[in-house]
């Protein structure tokens, strides 16, 4: 249940991705990277660090929209930052209609609604402090695997993407359309959101029917935009909503004073360690985003995160202008549920064995093996660290000889034995003078 996949032909079996994966989900076996399904959180870091572009996300093709009578695009605000010189979201939204969508609704508009709900929810419920944002699904899965004790701190609200999909479908059903005729397509900077649309964990069903990556749609959209002289007024959101794409945007939108925004999965891990050690109980809210630069740096984007962030500032300025016209449609008159349907479960994928005694025994073996390994984490064995190799060995997935140093030691010992053995000639051909003392 993950979306990041390997292009075997492009993979050269280097150590780039195994070294950076935050859940140690990747190993190189038989010269190719292998992703452990249960451990992958779809953060997309490997997509970004692979120098051969051998990692990608399983998204849906644009042609899939034709499976539905009524096709609706719900673009992430990150899309607005991908085009040089464009500071009016209406141009991009109109462009999406040119591509074949019947209508477009902004995820950023729902972000504004989720912001209000966040304030309400926190005021009415007693959530463990600091409250952790639930906006980034890669982080949610990381907490599930690596920081399960922090699950109670997560704000149990659905994401703006899910929220807009619900509002849109509910609205058009009330307009008399059949549910199965409406196809809602998320235009995504994010691999983790592909997964959480297909296999949602905390809601019974996703209202998103397909996820198309920004990378894929960019090629088709970009040439169209120049032709749009008079864009339709399709945008409904303000600068606050689109800010969610940037690190710190969610916190800023809520107006929290006492919040931390942290981006980049490695930085997030450090902060969550602190939270788990009880050191940040004085903080009200923490916004954690897996990608450097937030969703603007998502793995399925085209533009550099810092350039995108600069454009975001320009967009916000443009969108804050007083006389800006917004689309007038009563999309939110029918309320939808914005809270989770069920709690997030602990995932014990890092456990050696479900039986505690067995696990303890394996752990002792693991420590003993680790002691013998060179502890230089060179990665030649295909595991990210010597410790990870030791873990693989006790789990029966690797051999001590996979370590080049251990192999060399073994070969050397064998060579020594060979020399000793080669000197031991059979008695029948022993020359006089050999082994005199033996007889």
């Amino acid at each position: 249940m993950h979306s990041v996949i390997l292009d075997k032909d492009k993979c050269v079996g280097c150590t780039d991705c195994i070294k950076r994966c935050p859940t140690e989900a990747i190993r190189v076996r038989n010269g190719k990277a292998e992703i452990t399904v249960e451990r992958c959180i779809d953060c997309g870091l490997c997509i970004r660090v692979c120098r051969n572009n051998a990692k990608k996300a399983k998204t849906d093709p644009l042609s899939m929209i034709h499976d539905y009578k009524f096709k609706i695009a719900i673009p992430a605000p990150t899309l607005y930052t991908q085009f040089k010189g464009i500071t009016d979201p209406n141009i991009i939204l109109t462009g999406l209609k040119y591509l074949g969508f019947d209508d477009v609704f902004e995820v950023s508009k729902a972000a504004e609604i989720v912001t209000q709900e966040t304030l309400k929810y926190i005021a009415e419920h007693d959530i463990a402090k600091p409250v952790l944002s639930s906006a980034c699904p890669a982080i949610i899965r990381m907490i599930q695997i690596r920081f399960p004790s922090l699950i109670p701190n997560i704000l149990p609200l659905i994401s703006p993407k899910e929220a807009i999909a619900r509002y849109v479908k509910t609205y058009f059903i009330h307009q008399g359309m059949k549910e199965e005729d409406i196809g809602v397509f998320f235009i995504s900077p994010c691999a983790a959101k592909v997964t959480n649309s297909r296999y949602p964990q905390v809601i019974n069903k996703s209202y998103v029917d397909g996820v198309i990556s920004i990378k894929k749609i960019y090629m088709e959209l970009q040439p169209l935009l120049k032709k749009i002289k008079e864009p339709e007024v399709l945008s409904m959101s303000t600068s606050k909503g689109i800010g969610w794409a940037d690190s710190g945007g969610e916190g800023r939108a809520t107006g929290f004073e006492n919040y931390i925004a942290v981006d980049g999965i490695e930085n997030v891990i450090q902060i969550l360690e602190k939270v788990e050690n009880g050191k940040l109980e004085d903080i009200d809210f923490i916004e954690c985003l897996a990608c450097v630069g937030g969703c603007l740096g998502g793995p399925l984007t085209v533009e550099d995160a810092f350039v995108a962030s600069h454009r975001m500032e320009k967009l916000k300025k443009e969108m804050s202008k007083k006389n800006r016209k917004l689309r007038d449609i009563d999309l939110f008159s029918h309320p939808v549920k914005l809270t989770w349907d069920k709690p997030l479960k602990v995932k014990s994928v890092l456990t050696l064995d479900d039986d505690r005694e067995k696990a303890l025994e394996m752990m002792e073996q693991l420590e003993a093996i680790y002691e013998r390994l060179p502890k230089i984490d060179c990665g030649s064995c295909g595991a990210p660290t010597c410790r990870a190799l030791a873990e693989d060995i006790v789990c029966g997935k690797a051999h001590v000889e996979d370590c080049v140093f251990m192999l060399r030691e073994k070969v050397r010992n064998m060579a020594k034995d060979m020399v000793i053995l080669s000197e031991k000639l059979p008695p029948s051909i022993q020359k006089k003078g050999d082994n005199e003392n033996d007889g």
Binding site: R146, P148, S149, I151, E273, E276, N277, G278, K279, V346, S348, L350, T351, L352, D353, D354, R356, E357, A359, L360, M363, E364, L366, E367, E391
Partner: protein, 136 residues
């Protein structure tokens, strides 16, 4: 099963390493998140105290079927008035240490709160031995 760590004094930034390693091990053993949290917090505080107040020391962890004990031993200055040291907010940390976010006087109270058993032996000029026990 036993684990041993040596903790350097003065290494604020890498401090918490031993507690981090133990946390990782407990996760692999399938210990429940609540127990892991109790151990992590108590051990992290004890490790930090060793770094901040006693110039480092040794950590010995014993993982048994139904309990975990962590023994932290240092050859630091010892604690003068242990009853006061246990009070919330009591700290002898320098201004410099405080400016780095430590020295709230919360460490020992938190250790008491999260460990099921806490034993402290300390002697001025000789050192301190902290034993934390959490039942699984």
């Amino acid at each position: 099963m036993k684990l041993h760590y040596k903790v350097d004094g003065g290494a604020f930034t890498s401090a918490g390493f031993a507690a981090g390693q133990v946390k990782r091990t407990l996760r692999q053993l399938g210990i429940s998140p609540e127990i892991i949290r109790k151990i992590s917090i108590a051990m992290y505080e004890a490790e930090m105290n060793m770094v901040l107040h006693a110039n480092g020391g040794n950590v010995d962890v014993e993982l048994a079927k139904d309990y975990i004990t962590v023994v932290l031993e240092d050859q630091g200055p010892g604690i003068e008035d242990i009853d006061r040291a246990m009070e919330v907010g009591y700290s002898t940390a320098s201004q410099k240490v405080r400016s780095m976010g430590f020295g709230a006087g919360m460490g020992l109270p938190n250790m008491k709160r999260y460990a099921d058993e806490l034993t402290i032996d300390t002697k001025l000029g000789v050192g301190t031995r902290v034993e934390l026990k959490v039942f699984i």
